[in-house]
Symmetry: C2
Subunit: 369 residues, 2 copies
């Protein structure tokens, strides 16, 4: 940043810190709707195929194999922190890891996503979702987090742990893989609400245990991905999904770490999501952020919401659209800048690096410089 002042080699920065005993992390502060030095920014899928160093480190191995290698998972998690100077790291992991670990029989197929050998069909399948024991079922996740905390703590960068929300996780188990229609999962929730409820109960238990273990290992915030909740009507979301999401968030509330609830296409659901117990609501690019803040209310922070597809346009377009997000975020505290969904693999990392600088320089929500 250029200050316009003559630089004095070795001198301390001349700016007086308005937070002498305040939060070290703009990300954590913004999640709590507190004042910040700058608008924090991170990107969903920041650790991913858009980075050449990611492609070099991952090579041809499976994603679940990479996740099960703590040194590799930690390296992939750190790459975007080094390159972009983002305000938070997010663990390199996948939402199917806990159900895979309890033996449900699910893999992640490159170019497709999660694929389930034998989809969930009836209450007889509930026995395939035993409780998770993180120390023995996912020791590699806890080890990766421990490695990361050692690296990130000196930088003052928090690590975000995460899990799939019960609906989105259930949708993979019931559909057997990615779906555009969610026909099977909707037939189950409407047609056999008792089995649906038992399925979500089992996933709630696994998810709460998994998230608590991540925080115990050192994660400083948690994001719950209910990526496909936006394919539900508001009535379906409220009756069949929100109660389980609330139970997960209740189950980690005593830990005192910020929680973020995110989904795509949730314009009609934002008001309901704001009652989930999450401290931060993630917003995709379809809803202008000022409209989203009105629907969500003043009690929650918001995260988002630049369209990831915009990052493929020339940088002046990216800059203009990012400024529009920042303008709509306003000046009240509680904005974490992010994309409205994950980084697209074909994104130029240079665009994201410049975007981080722009957000840091120009964000105004709760900013005291």
């Amino acid at each position: 940043m250029t200050t316009g002042l003559p630089e004095v080699p070795g001198a301390a920065p001349r700016r007086v810190d308005p937070f002498p005993a305040g939060p070290a992390s703009a990300f954590l502060a913004a999640c709590r709707r507190q004042a910040v030095h700058h608008t924090p920014v991170w990107f969903m899928r920041q650790a991913g195929r858009s980075l050449p160093e990611y492609r070099a480190a991952r090579r041809e191995g499976s994603i679940l194999g990479a996740i099960a290698d703590p040194e590799l998972a930690a390296e992939l998690t750190l790459q975007p922190v080094r390159r972009y100077g983002v305000d938070a790291a997010i663990l390199f992991c996948d939402i199917v890891v806990p159900v895979h670990a309890v033996g449900f029989g699910v893999d992640v197929v490159p170019g497709t996503g999660p694929v389930v050998d034998t989809p969930f069909r009836s209450s007889a399948d509930l026995r395939r979702l035993r409780p998770i024991e993180p120390e023995t079922d996912v020791p590699y996740v806890l080890r990766a987090i421990a490695l990361l905390v050692d690296e990130l703590a000196p930088l003052g960068v928090p690590l975000i742990g995460f899990a799939g929300a019960p609906f989105t996780l259930a949708s993979y188990l019931v559909e057997g893989g990615p779906s555009r229609t969610f026909g099977k999962v909707k037939a189950l929730m409407h047609g056999d609400p008792a089995t649906w409820g038992a399925l979500l109960d089992a996933l709630c238990g696994i998810t709460v245990t998994f998230l608590r273990a991540q925080v115990a290992a050192g994660a400083g915030a948690l994001q719950l991905f209910d990526s496909w909740a936006g394919w539900l009507s508001p009535d379906e979301y409220e009756r069949f999904v929100l109660p389980a999401t609330r139970r997960v968030l209740d189950g980690v509330a005593d830990l005192g770490v910020p929680t973020i609830l995110f989904g795509v296409g949730t314009g009609e659901l934002l008001g309901l999501m704001a009652t989930s117990g999450a401290g931060v609501i993630g917003v995709d690019w379809r809803v202008p952020l000022d409209a989203a803040r009105r629907r969500i209310g003043d009690e929650r922070a918001v995260q988002g919401n630049l369209d990831p597809a915009i990052c493929l346009a020339p940088f002046e377009v990216v800059a203009s659209q990012a400024r529009d997000v920042l303008r709509r975020a306003g000046t009240d505290p509680g904005h974490v800048f992010n994309l409205g969904h994950g980084v697209l693999p074909e994104t130029d990392p240079g665009v994201l690096a410049a975007l981080v600088d722009l957000v840091h320089d120009e964000g105004r929500a709760g900013v005291v410089r």
Copy 2:
């Protein structure tokens, strides 16, 4: 329908017709927000793989081959009219037919959708979109319509012609096939608005000519599919898409046939779509229909909006959800019952048949019995 009255063999129905000189078609009347005898209903993709008679007639041939065979296209169009007693037929065709016909190089691949040999990349590709001459480029479409009008007119069932809206059509040409992100098309519209505008101009010209020819051949209503408009932000839709959609609708306004504009995930766009010139706005299942009617206003009819995935649940669930749609549609005129997107291939035709009866019996929007 059971009336509770003793049946008199051969006697005329005892109900007095409140429309002695009124509209013959409940569908056309509802599109015009006029009173109806019953709530009209049809289903997007009603002519499709959910019907055994469709699978038997189509066999293994290509979809573009079936469309180019007027007798087969007419038969496929008529099948759901015979089976369900729907209030409108929709021509068996595909939104890529006109661009295919002018030689752009596009095919429809089963299980994938439209695939373009050489995607649109720059203004040099504009020459691949010459004006369409329906009599020589798509004579089979006009012939199928003529055959259908002969069959449908005696039944009082209108035929809906259709086309892709410029954005959705352009998205296939630019992306090269179906996309979940629309990264290339957004990069083009933002990065090179002049070429984007010229592309939409070319598609407007083709689309208006194609739609006018369908009406001249006998189509009684037109639907414009802007299926993927909901992946745009409101600002993008208003700046880069809505003007071209308006031009298409302006280009057919003098024909006096009802026009329907439909897209998926358009909750944030409904107010803008209501200014397109379309007389009917199609609504997907994400927005409750009463909320949709408030956003759209009193000047337009609405079409929708039962979730197609619900049709895979037990019929009592389908009935309950359909009644919720009818309740939210209210009693003011101007509701065409439909699904919120196309019929899923795995749908039981018996469910749709029972759904038609339910809508006819219980719909109340503008109904005078």
